[in-house]
């Protein structure tokens, strides 16, 4: 499998981890040394053939890559517009794209010799992926998860425990993903000598946004080759959901220099952008600093981070990876949003029409893709990242259906 692809004109981040004005390393002094160490190891290994041979082997034989590109023929017929293709990250081991990154970072951890890994999780997918790798490599694993998310994602909590991880409920702040990340940072600063922090999304201090993107870019590289093979050309548009934005940047990055490929990042519109109850910093926030990087954020007039709302725990985050902020300002990617209701409708539609139950996060991308497809001609190709499967969300959806029906 092809693992490296140099962009011809898009070169980010720079040496200091900046994507234009975004990114960087906004952390307390204690963590700088560990970040320097990580950057040094990553810079050494990212051009190392053996490292990538090991990674590619695991991606093929443990994760099950390449994930298929699926022509959603029935959905396409139903919509009656552009052809919709789904990149099936939901078929990966553990059920989402998260494992691509966790495997990569765990390999880095192995090279640092650290025996303890920590992770934050929202929907639980990254926590499960981290616990899975920890089980396989015999590492101690501690996962921080907001109390509110633990309630919403009970099945994933149980999965992590089965895998031998310790799940620590986070009771500070809004008790969701952002607070889990604060708690993971506190653990890391305390146990920095023995602990490797596996960040689950393309955010955090440099070099995390870069290395998470690089590990997730396998999605876009495969999708690009598969699309060429199946349709004889590149897609007209890419669509992916954006919480922290790792599945989206993974799909987008290998296409950035393909000027004719449009890109759409779909944020969680919650109850609607106009209600303020959403998780769409790129649609309605402004640049600030959170969790180690400068990026678009949702905060009040005093710069206090505000509580977000989304039906999907994995998108319920007030910030976004810094590269998305830069791609927004550059105008390379269009960031849009869909509401909870639209995502839930897409969830049902895809399930009924294609027999694929998507994660609520991915349902946002599907919802926008169907809107886009309806506006486009039948000759166009829209490629959607189906970033995860919906098994974990069955309970949430059943609860909502129960209330509604």
């Amino acid at each position: 499998m092809e693992t490296t692809e140099k962009s011809s004109n898009y070169q980010a981040p720079d040496e200091l981890g900046r994507f234009g004005p975004y990114g960087g390393r906004y952390v307390s002094e204690t963590l700088i040394h560990a970040l320097d160490e990580l950057k040094e190891i990553y810079n050494r290994l990212k051009d190392d053939k053996d490292f990538f041979a090991e990674l590619d082997y695991d991606l093929a034989h443990y994760v099950g890559r390449p994930s298929p590109l699926y022509f959603a023929e029935h959905l396409t017929q139903k919509i009656g517009g552009a052809q919709i293709f789904l990149k099936r990250e939901d078929l990966n081991h553990t059920g989402a794209h998260k494992i691509n990154n966790t495997i990569g970072q765990a390999l880095l951890a192995k090279h640092t010799g650290k025996k303890r890994i920590i992770a934050e999780t929202g929907a639980g997918q990254h926590g499960v992926a981290s616990a899975t790798i920890a089980a396989r490599l015999g590492l101690e694993c501690v996962v921080y998860m907001g109390e509110e998310d633990i309630r919403r994602q009970a099945m994933n909590v149980y999965r992590m425990k089965l895998l031998g991880a310790t799940v620590v409920p986070v009771t500070s702040g809004s008790r969701t993903l952002k607070d889990a990340m604060n708690e993971a940072l506190r653990d890391w600063v305390t146990n920095v000598d023995t602990t490797f922090y596996i960040i689950g999304t393309a955010a955090g201090p440099h070099p995390y946004p870069q290395l998470v993107r690089d590990f997730q870019a396998v999605i876009g590289r495969e999708a690009r080759a598969q699309c060429l093979e199946m349709t004889g050309r590149l897609p007209d548009a890419l669509v992916a959901c954006v919480g922290g934005g790792s599945n989206a940047i993974g799909l987008f990055h290998p296409f950035i220099n393909d000027a004719d490929v449009e890109m759409f990042g779909v944020e969680a519109g919650g109850h609607g952008i106009e209600t303020g109850q959403h998780a769409a910093p790129l649609s309605s926030g402004k640049p600030g600093v959170l969790h180690g990087n400068k990026t678009y954020l949702m905060a009040d007039d005093n710069g206090q981070i505000i509580e977000t709302h989304s039906v999907s725990a994995g998108l319920d985050y007030p910030g976004v990876g810094p590269e998305h902020s830069w791609l927004k300002d550059m105008g390379r990617v269009s960031y849009v949003s869909v509401t909870d209701d639209e995502a839930l409708n897409a969830f049902s539609q895809l399930t009924r029409v294609e027999g694929i139950i998507p994660a609520l996060e991915s349902s946002h991308a599907v919802a926008y893709a169907t809107k886009l497809a309806a506006e486009r001609g039948k000759d166009q190709v829209i490629l959607v990242n189906l970033s995860g499967r919906g098994d974990k969300d069955i309970h949430t959806v059943a609860e909502i259906d129960g209330i509604q029906g």
């Binding site: 200091l16 960087g24 390393r25 906004y26 952390v27 307390s28 002094e29 204690t30 963590l31 700088i32 040394h33 560990a34 500070s172 702040g173 952002k178 607070d179 990340m181 604060n182 940072l185 506190r186 600063v189 305390t190 146990n191 920095v192 000598d193 402004k286 640049p287 600030g288 600093v289 959170l290 969790h291 180690g292 400068k294 954020l297 905060a299 007039d301 005093n302 710069g303 206090q304 981070i305 505000i306």
Partner: protein, 266 residues
């Protein structure tokens, strides 16, 4: 001259050590902050450090996290905090006030407006936990233009090269984080602090104050034997919280700080 400098010069001339005391603005309520600041001074504080509450205080342990949450429940913002300091200045024109907090409230207000308003309110410097030197140049420039000091953290993990680079950017004093961990963590290890201080002393003339993990007079005393001052944070915040009323808090804080002051003056 900046009040932090005046105070540090005076302490050096008298061969005394600095007591830096930290409280969170607006904790437990807005009305308590100015009386508490005056009490800190009466009880022997040389430099007041005012914690600016933030929704995501990722470097703080539980004690100060909860203080931030209590303050934010009172809807306090950076603008109001600067008003409180202006009020403090009506009765105290000499005690230095250092703001300690996180980047985002300052980013949101804008560097220029923050520095100008802070200067007018009588603030003397800022310590922004999550703006390390690599990211500090833009803020540093505006702080300097307004005569405000930028105080930086040094950590047990800071390399010798970084110590030199940070000392070059810093003004006033350096704040050495005594342990790998969050504020209010377990006890510090005096031998390892001493070892690191020798590296720092070899690279800068700036005074070094030590914080994180100093809970009582005995620890403070052992720290000032090797450093230029101590920072007391969680112990004060905890004392205020447990007091239950402002009146009791003033007495309890006085009791705590008087003992620490006596120990470091011995």
């Amino acid at each position: 001259m900046n009040r932090i400098q005046v105070t540090l010069d005076k302490l050096a001339a008298e061969n005394r050590k600095a007591l830096v005391s930290y409280i969170v603005a607006g904790d437990p309520d807005l009305a308590s902050t100015v009386p508490l600041m005056h009490q800190l001074v009466k009880s022997g504080t040389d430099i007041i450090e005012i914690g600016v509450p933030f929704s995501d205080p990722s470097a703080e342990g539980p004690t100060i996290q909860r203080a931030h949450e209590r303050a934010l429940a009172n809807k306090i913002g950076l603008g109001q905090i600067l008003e409180l300091i202006k009020e403090f200045r009506k009765q105290d024109s000499s005690t230095p006030v250092l703001l300690m907090g996180y980047a985002n409230p300052i980013e949101w207000m804008g560097y220029a407006r923050f520095c100008l308003t802070a200067k007018e309110a009588g603030v003397d410097g800022a310590l922004t936990v999550d703006i390390p030197p690599e990211e500090a140049a833009p803020l540093n420039e505006v702080l300097e233009e307004n005569g405000l000091f930028n105080v930086f953290l040094l950590a047990p993990t800071t390399t010798d090269d970084r110590i030199s680079a940070i000392a070059n950017m810093a003004s006033g004093f350096l704040y050495y984080v005594s342990l790998k961990g969050v504020t209010g963590a377990a006890s510090l290890d005096i031998a390892s602090v001493e070892e690191k201080l020798s590296h720092i002393r070899a690279r800068t003339q700036l005074p070094v104050c030590v914080g994180f993990g100093i809970k009582d007079a005995a620890t403070a005393k052992s720290v000032v034997a090797i450093a230029d001052g101590v920072v007391i944070g969680s112990a004060i915040v905890d004392t205020v919280f447990k007091s239950g009323s402002l009146e009791k808090a003033l007495i309890a804080v006085d009791d705590l700080l008087t003992r620490i002051r006596a120990a470091i003056d011995e």
